[in-house]
């Protein structure tokens, strides 16, 4: 029932921070080879994006896995989605192996001051089709559909870090504009943890991004 492990883990990491626009980006390099990148909104102090880079076993460049926030939208859909951003124009052909079609449901996660929100886009079915359950034994929220079209186990890493199981009573569900919105109101312990993390990041030195400097110069 404590987030102390998580705080210690973050403390052990080598941290780099840079400010770009109104966003502060922090890169954590952990001793076990993992990397985590976070983006904080400087006005609200809320994490907008968080991604993990886990080390791969055999070979090749590890990929970023997005835990939080939207994936960068790509204009040419043909580029390999799993490869993240970057090399897009070079492989405009059918270089990908498999990917979900662009009409398939797409899950994104967002954190606000009070809530954790998931949006599942491309979900045309009415609200009574969905069944959203908090499952303590899986430590996850399970979304299923009565027409057997969609099923997803959504892990909640924030709750894991605090050692709190998900609770059904915190969940509310909306459906509008082809989108299913699941809202989970944050328990106090999570807010507390986030505040602690912010305190931790206060000590990390920040450099201003070159882009901003250049932008400033151009304006003059």
């Amino acid at each position: 029932m404590s987030y102390q492990n998580w705080i210690n883990y973050l403390k052990s990491a080598e941290k780099n921070s840079i400010v770009s626009g109104r966003i502060r980006k922090v890169l954590y390099k952990f001793a076990d080879g993992q990397q985590m990148s976070e983006e904080y909104n400087m006005d609200t102090g809320i994490v907008q994006r968080r991604a993990w880079r886990k080390c791969k076993q055999l070979m090749g460049e590890p990929e970023w896995e997005i835990e939080l926030g939207e994936e960068p939208r790509q204009l040419n859909w043909s580029a390999n989605k799993t490869n993240g951003a970057g090399d897009s124009d070079a492989m405009a052909g059918a270089e990908f192996t498999v990917r979900e079609s662009n009409t398939a449901p797409l899950l994104t996660k967002r954190i606000t001051k009070k809530n954790i929100e998931w949006r599942i886009r491309n979900m045309p079915y009415p609200l009574d089709v969905y069944n959203v359950k908090a499952q303590a034994e899986k430590r996850a929220i399970v979304v299923s559909t009565s027409n057997k079209k969609y099923y997803k186990v959504i892990p909640v890493p924030e709750l894991d870090r605090c050692g709190v199981p998900p609770q059904q009573s915190s969940i509310t569900v909306h459906h509008q504009f082809n989108t299913l919105i699941i809202t989970y109101s944050k328990p106090d312990i999570i807010c507390e943890m986030e505040a602690q993390v912010l305190m931790l990041l206060k000590d990390v030195e920040t450099e201003t991004s070159m882009d901003d400097l250049l932008k400033g110069l151009m304006a003059k």
């Binding site: 059918a94 979900e100 398939a104 057997k148 099923y151």
Partner: protein, 480 residues
């Protein structure tokens, strides 16, 4: 649809070419490593087989690195057969690399590089890795190809589990995989997201009553549950050499298939050794040392032997089995003579297994096995004659006669090879003894016969003549 199914289920019997040792399926030992007289294609050589059984046990336990075993014996006493038997007994999980001593003299890489690649090919690493796979039942599959026949193919597939259903777009490469695996609606498949490998698990039970011709080998499986995309732990078995290749070149995996590996830097190897040891400590990988078999080991030269001396001391070394049919002979690359043509210091590190000549009974047994392997029915009398030929000439020559006699027998439309057939092929094909006898008799009629007596001695300068006398027993090529 039904037509396509019919083609698919046509049973394909695997045709394997028959090789010199294809009749061997193991070492023919029982549970307590006692050799059975005739078993798994092995005959006789009880002591040698028992010894080889102990060695395989040592390899299986995998605790001891860098042991060296020498199989020594006269020609055609089953040295290679024992090595093949060991490979079969160890199974496909344990890497077994077989090479001939002369294979290292390649112009493309140095001798030591060839040897260290062979050594590293014989060490397997089992790596547990978590990968993302898609597992589901195919609901619908559409592949559109352009009318011109070339160009981009478009593919879409709908997969489902008991809980959900999703559409996927398919890339060009994976469309080919789908076509190769002949995937239809109703199949349960897995797709490895990283490598794009498609694997057909079977047909879904819900389609079991569909009217189509399914073969006996069609497997029915349950439709998978839960999410389509799963993280699964898979175990790869790769050899150290494969890891080397992947990491040494920019084109990575492709080098494995093109075979163009070239030299691998020692730094890369060291790095990989460290990495593998690290993984082992973390419990992510398991080292699975195998066997390197070097046939005709007397063909190696002194540099290779001293390289092996050092390489065997590394804790990543496999068990090395060597075979030679030479007695006391010159070590290649030196003027020194040594038992088996191997330096004494390396011999000292070896345990030596001796193979002995086969008895007449055993020869008969081997010939019988070979007859079976080569699909040849032989009359007992013919077999006796063949055994006689084998003891008088050589076992290999007698084995050559089996198929030839079978062909002669088929010419006269008989089902069984009789003594006449064997006699006929015996007169048709010369064995080594008779051939050399003829050569000696008619030497003067052959070309360049005059050189051998006089010029031959002169071409080898000084002490060369003496050396020639010494090494008359072994037909080794002279070192420059």
């Amino acid at each position: 649809m039904a037509e396509a199914e019919k083609i698919e289920v046509r049973d394909i019997t695997r045709i394997e070419r028959i090789g010199a040792h294809s009749h061997i399926r193991g070492l023919g030992l029982d549970d307590v490593l006692e050799a059975r007289a005739v078993s798994q294609g092995m005959v006789g050589q009880k002591d040698a087989r028992r010894a080889a059984g102990v060695v395989t046990q040592m390899v299986r336990e995998g605790k001891i690195a860098g042991r060296c075993i020498l199989l020594a014996g006269e020609p055609s006493t089953g040295k290679t057969a024992i090595a093949v038997g060991m490979a079969q007994a160890l199974g496909t999980e344990t890497p077994f690399t077989s090479m001939s001593g002369s294979e290292i003299y390649s112009l493309e890489m140095s001798k030591t590089e060839a040897l260290s690649q062979a050594l590293r090919k014989s060490i397997g690493v089992r790596i547990k890795e978590e990968t993302e796979i898609i597992e589901g039942e195919v609901v619908e599959i559409q592949i559109e190809r352009p009318a011109t026949g070339t160009g981009q193919k478009m593919g879409k597939v709908t997969l489902k589990t008991t809980e959900m259903e999703t559409n996927y777009d398919l890339g060009n490469k994976i469309i080919e995989c789908f076509m190769k695996e002949k995937i239809h609606a109703g199949d349960v498949i897995t797709i490895d997201k990283a490598s794009g490998k498609v694997n057909k698990l079977g047909r879904s039970f819900t389609r079991a009553r569909d009217y189509d011709a399914t073969g006996a080998q069609a497997r029915f499986v349950q439709c998978p549950e839960g999410e389509l995309q799963k993280r699964k732990e898979v175990v790869h078995t790769v050899t150290l050499h494969e890891i080397d290749v992947i990491n040494s070149r920019t084109h990575g995996f492709l080098a494995l298939f093109s075979g163009d590996t070239g030299e691998i830097k020692q730094e890369v190897r060291d790095q990989i050794n460290n990495k593998v040891l690290e993984w082992r400590e973390e419990g992510k990988a398991e080292i699975n040392p195998g066997v390197l078999f070097i046939d005709e080991v007397h063909m190696l030269d002194i540099e290779c032997f001293s390289f092996l001396n050092r390489a065997l001391e590394s804790d990543m070394a496999p068990v090395v089995v060597m075979a030679t049919n030479r007695g006391i002979t010159r070590i290649r690359g030196t003027n020194y003579r040594s038992p088996h043509g191997i330096p004494i210091d390396l011999l000292d590190r070896m345990i030596i297994i001796r193979t002995v000549a086969y008895s007449e009974k055993e020869v008969k047994e081997i010939l019988k096995i070979r007859c079976e392997e080569e699909d040849c029915v032989m009359h007992p009398d013919a077999l006796t004659i063949l055994t006689r030929i084998a003891t008088d000439t050589s076992l290999r020559y007698a084995i050559q006669l089996i198929t030839t006699a079978n062909l002669v027998c088929r010419r006269r439309k008989a089902a069984e090879v009789n003594t006449e057939d064997v006699k006929k092929v015996y007169s048709l094909f010369l064995d080594e003894n008779r051939s050399s006898k003829i050569l000696k008799e008619y030497q003067d009629d052959y070309m360049f016969s005059e050189i051998t007596e006089h010029d031959g001695d002169e071409s080898v300068a000084g002490g060369g003549a003496k050396r020639r006398m010494e090494s008359s027993g072994d037909a080794q090529p002279m070192e420059h």
